[in-house]
Subunit: 223 residues, 2 copies
DNA sequence: CGAGCTCTTCAGCATTCCTTCAGAATCATT
DNA sequence: AATGATTCTGAAGGAATGCTGAAGAGCTCG
């Protein structure tokens, strides 16, 4: 579960990040408007904590941007402005919830849990990424509505990629995740599995989701 | 790790510098208001030890200056004035911590370690410098929001430059850092890597961050 | 036990990157 | 301006990494 914290007061964002990290969330912090836009552009988050009062651009503008990209799911607004007006504006723009400063971390935690629960329930165990669709209950994978038949390892590999979509993952990380760091020789089997997964996905649609990064690893993304 | 010590009592500043140097910190000393301002302007520090009671200007003024430049991160105030009033003033102006004279060097060390740890945690994901943005987790580099694809060595080189931004770095230092002082011939590979890195950064944005200083080395900075 | 599938190993090939080098360009000094 | 030192550039060989297809090993199920 990845959470983006958009907050200019470093003391606050830090303590939130520290607290949430202990709750097994993976946190990124953006301290200003531009960082936030960049992060949102390059990664997908399960939940975004958004401070409306940022120094270099109104947090509401970020929300507008998110609305354009249809990514407003899971946005929780944090703000010192607890006027009804702001609250309405925020929720109008598609935010999921609203929390006024100051707040207890435990309450924040509860709200986040609620948002994520709702998102998961809504998504009904179906993970979607571009034209790729994974039904984790039926273990059914489709690309552009064409079914893709994967082996167990290929399926696990795909899930790992999707869970870390748009992120660079090293071969070591993949190996550790799929084989539990019992590695004998080199990374030959990873090459083979990736080759096979790639082929199956490209046969179904014709986009190569798996990008190789020389000397670094792989990145599951578009283009 | 670079630390600036702003302190007029040379006996004290010297013993601090000596102690911290042994802890693998790189120390600069400023003995008065103007020296401090110059140093801060010229270089970036991971931590600034600031004595409030300076002869030619109040240390708090330095803090105000730092606040204007938004560089108050990592400031540790040292002062004989241990009144609550001064403490509050200092922390209000954005200082991270406050230490009253006299103090044990070991305590100073602990506080510095805490500050640097916190700063690193903060900067965990994103390093930003002008229009350059480096996400160290995703290993994603952007200039003016354009992604820049770097090779391993180029990426390491960039990280080294950014870690020593605004500082003159010699070819020898770069070589030692990237190749671990196993050098065969001249510095031809550095030339090549810098050329390539420069080209990629300038293709993405159009500012040359890497300034060559004839006979000295390089400086990563603007203009 | 053996057919069918999956996982792993391996060797050869392809790609990308690192380094080297020579010549051109730049700079400081005379 | 001329000189020598330093830096930049583009091209090319070699090293490292990744990809591919095929074949063997392991597993499951009738």
């Amino acid at each position: 579960m990845k959470i983006l914290i958009v907050e200019d007061e470093t003391a606050l964002s830090e303590s939130i990040a520290e607290y949430l990290s202990k709750q097994e969330y993976h946190c990124d912090v953006a301290g200003n408007f531009h960082q936030a836009i960049d992060q949102i552009e390059y990664d997908d988050y399960d939940c975004i904590l958004l401070d409306i009062t940022l120094p270099d651009g109104d947090g509401l503008k970020i929300l507008e941007q998110l609305k354009e990209d249809k990514k407003t799911d899971g946005v929780l607004i944090i703000s010192a402005k607890n006027s009804l007006d702001d609250k309405i504006k925020g929720l109008d723009l598609g935010a999921d919830d609203y929390l006024s400063k100051p707040f207890h971390l435990s309450e924040l935690n509860a709200r986040i849990a609620a948002i994520i629960r709702r998102k998961n329930f809504e998504g009904n165990n179906i993970i979607q990424f571009e034209h790729l669709c994974i039904d984790t209950q039926k273990k059914l994978v489709t690309v552009e509505k064409n079914p893709v038949e994967l082996t167990k390892k290929e399926y696990e590999l795909l899930l790992y990629f999707v869970a870390n979509k748009k992120r660079l993952v090293s071969k070591e990380a993949i190996a550790e995740h799929l084989w539990g760091n019992e590695m004998s020789g080199g990374f030959d089997f990873i090459y083979t599995h990736i080759k096979n997964l790639r082929k199956k996905l490209m046969d179904a649609g014709d986009a190569d989701y798996i990008k190789s990064v020389y000397g670094m690893g792989y990145k599951f993304t578009t283009q």
